[in-house]
């Protein structure tokens, strides 16, 4: 009997949900008016048009849907859309021109301390911050296109900024022109999947103090400084593309103080440095492709117990470089296209160990301007003799079982 009452009550609630349509031709003309009229569980449908209402606050559990991408224009004054209720769905809007301010970070869409918010299929253009999740749980940010035209790091915010959150899903977004494409700080148990983050001013993905996250099948291309993952443990990085991150301190992937993570099946192509590691430990780097980078991997001497296994190093200027003589990492069964050994017993592994560290990469590490002598005959001679009799480079910096053929990855 009691169950029946509950079910009846449930249906009553459902049937109570009403739909409010906003538009020029409808009785409700403005979005703020519609939100004021709505109750929890209602649906607001906004029809096509330009709505110049800055600071729209959604403080009820509603579905907020756009029809044919209505434009919400912040007129460069303030935040466009603020969410202050659980389980809000925002779908199908074009949100443009949020204000620019350093003190209160106005955003395209900002969610304050809420759970189960869904932000899907929106276009964000020329906002200070794109989507900002502050202290949220179980939020979904999906298939949004986020674009900005930042010129300087200090004058633009991040595309998707997540702070102190848990269980987020960032899926299928396209982000460009912001400071950091995706920014994670104190975000745990979250997934970043199938995003394209390109041509942002600083990092494509910036990751700090965010444990137990994974990012899978993303493309990070042409960002000012690549991707940074810092002060974190248990991160999984699978199937990502890190491409064309060129410049002064640009890295395909910057790892700083990371532990117990797994880097699998990624592709690092045409970066100044493919991976830069500093203070990382217990990381497994497996089945990745390093192709046409300036430096395949830069492993600082502060790294330990990392395993670099079964990777392909193809056409990099330098495969590996390091800044000290201490070697606490293992290299095994990688394919190095610069390997010149032989395989007499035909087991697929070279019979002589490979020294991935060339003399010249050590020289340039100490004295960057010596790059001017690269590929000079003199240097080639020195490099060859160093390979035979290591004196400057650490002699235990070796791959004992270099592969003879590249792995089909």
């Amino acid at each position: 009997m009691r169950k029946l009452i509950y079910i009846l009550l449930f249906f009553c609630l459902i049937s109570n949900a009403k739909t409010i349509t906003v538009g020029r031709l409808y009785p409700v003309k403005t979005i703020k008016q519609a939100i004021a009229l709505a109750n929890d569980g209602d649906i607001i449908i906004v029809t096509q048009g330009v709505y110049k209402e800055e600071n729209i606050i959604i403080n009820k559990k509603i579905k907020f849907l756009g029809k044919n991408f209505p434009v919400l224009d912040g007129q460069n004054k303030a935040e466009v859309l603020s969410v202050a209720a659980d389980s809000v769905v925002i779908k199908g809007f074009k949100i443009i021109n949020s204000g620019h301010a350093a003190l209160d970070d106005p955003c395209g869409i900002k969610v304050y301390d809420r759970n189960f918010v869904v932000i899907e299929n929106n276009i964000l253009d020329n906002n200070f911050f794109g989507i900002y999740l502050q202290n949220c749980k179980n939020a979904v940010v999906k298939n949004n296109t986020i674009k900005a035209y930042g010129k300087q790091e200090q004058l633009i915010g991040n595309g998707i900024h997540c702070w102190k959150s848990d269980n987020l899903q960032i899926i299928g977004n396209k982000i460009s022109g912001h400071r950091d494409g995706i920014y994670f700080e104190f975000v745990t148990q979250s997934v970043i999947w199938r995003n394209i983050s390109s041509y942002n001013i600083r990092y494509g993905l910036h990751f700090m103090f965010s444990n137990d996250d994974s990012y899978i099948t993303n493309v990070f291309k042409g960002n000012g400084a690549g991707v940074a993952v810092m002060f974190t443990k248990n991160v999984k990085m699978f199937n990502n593309y890190f491409e064309e991150n060129w410049g002064d301190s640009a890295y395909g992937l910057l790892l700083k103080e990371i532990s117990d993570s797994y880097i699998f099946n990624n592709r690092f192509a045409r970066n100044t440095s493919g991976i830069y590691m500093e203070g990382t430990s217990r990381i497994k780097v497996e089945k990745n492709i390093f192709e046409a980078n300036g430096w395949g991997m830069k492993i600082q001497a502060s790294c330990m117990e990392n395993e670099i296994v079964n990777n392909n190093f193809l056409g990099n200027t330098f495969d590996i470089s390091t800044n000290g003589s201490l070697v606490l990492n293992t290299f095994n069964s990688n394919y190095w296209d610069k390997y010149e050994g032989y395989d007499l017993n035909k087991d697929g592994f070279g019979d002589v160990p490979y020294h991935p560290l060339s003399l010249f990469s050590v020289l340039t590490e100490n004295n960057p301007s010596s790059m001017i002598l690269f590929r000079s005959f003199m240097i080639t001679l020195l490099d060859k003799s160093e390979k035979v009799l290591p004196s400057i480079t650490p002699d235990n910096f070796i791959d004992n079982k270099p592969l003879m053929k590249s792995l089909p990855l």
């Binding site: 002064d248 640009a250 430096w295 990099n316 004295n367 003199m378």
Partner: protein
């Protein structure tokens, strides 16, 4: 003038050494592209050929050829032809035949296997290096009458630019590493045609590394179009200046 060039050109093209040079270049280039699975490594081999073999053969062959044809030159001088013309046509004949040999030997495989800006760049630079070292050979052969001495000077020139110069640069780099010497280093490269050529090719071949901090200063100069024009002009000057010095000396020389 045209007739003198024609005579020299035909004479050199029939020469067995030039023929072997062409064949060796061709064998090296074709095999380096065929043996390696990616064309980048083949390009590296050809880069080494351009920086090492091409200068050596150009400078040595031209010096020896000039000494051997001293009687022919004397014969020409007895004719009513200007000295200037004789020397210039000798230079044009020699350098064009060496360039021709380079184009046939290395240029064709480059065009077929690497038909991009890098391949084109290597061909142009290879030709320029050839002409530069022919000009240096003219200078070394006019400096002394003694054949052995002249060839010695030619070898020394080659050795200096191919090996010693880089050694000096490396030494300076590490001695002066506490000072901001990057601009100075860029200036220093202008003093060696082989270094100029190498860095131009490096800007294309190792673009990812050169875009980094180590290459930034060089990128700012050599990577820009004005840097490109300047370094090509410098390479041309490296061909023109030695030749004009030798021409001046030839005009005044008592043969």
């Amino acid at each position: 003038m045209n007739r003198i060039i024609k005579i020299i050109l035909l004479d050199i093209l029939k020469n067995k050494i030039v023929l072997t040079y062409t064949l060796i270049l061709a064998a090296l280039s074709w095999s380096s592209f065929a043996l390696e699975d990616n064309s980048a490594k083949g390009l590296l081999t050809i880069l080494n050929v351009i920086l090492f073999t091409v200068p050596l053969v150009s400078v040595l062959f031209s010096t020896i050829y000039l000494y051997n044809s001293s009687e022919f030159i004397e014969l020409l001088l007895s004719q009513p032809v200007k000295r200037r013309k004789i020397w210039a046509s000798l230079f044009l004949g020699l350098s064009s035949s060496m360039v021709f040999a380079f184009m046939v030997g290395a240029g064709i495989p480059l065009l077929i296997n690497a038909p991009n800006s890098l391949g084109l760049m290597m061909i142009i630079i290879g030709c320029l290096i050839t002409v530069i070292f022919v000009a240096l050979a003219f200078l070394s052969s006019i400096l002394t009458r003694d054949k052995a001495k002249g060839i010695g000077i030619a070898i020394m020139i080659w050795l200096f630019f191919a090996l010693l110069f880089d050694g000096i640069v490396l030494f300076l780099l590490f001695q002066l590493s506490d000072y901001p010497i990057e601009n100075f280093m860029v200036g220093l490269t202008a003093l060696s045609p082989i270094d100029l050529a190498r860095i131009q090719i490096l800007m294309h071949l190792d673009v990812s590394a050169m875009m980094g901090y180590t290459g930034a200063i060089f990128k700012d100069f050599f990577g820009t179009s004005s840097g490109l024009v300047i370094s090509f002009l410098l390479l041309c000057l490296w061909a023109i200046i030695p030749f004009f010095i030798s021409l001046k000396k030839f005009n005044q020389k008592d043969l």
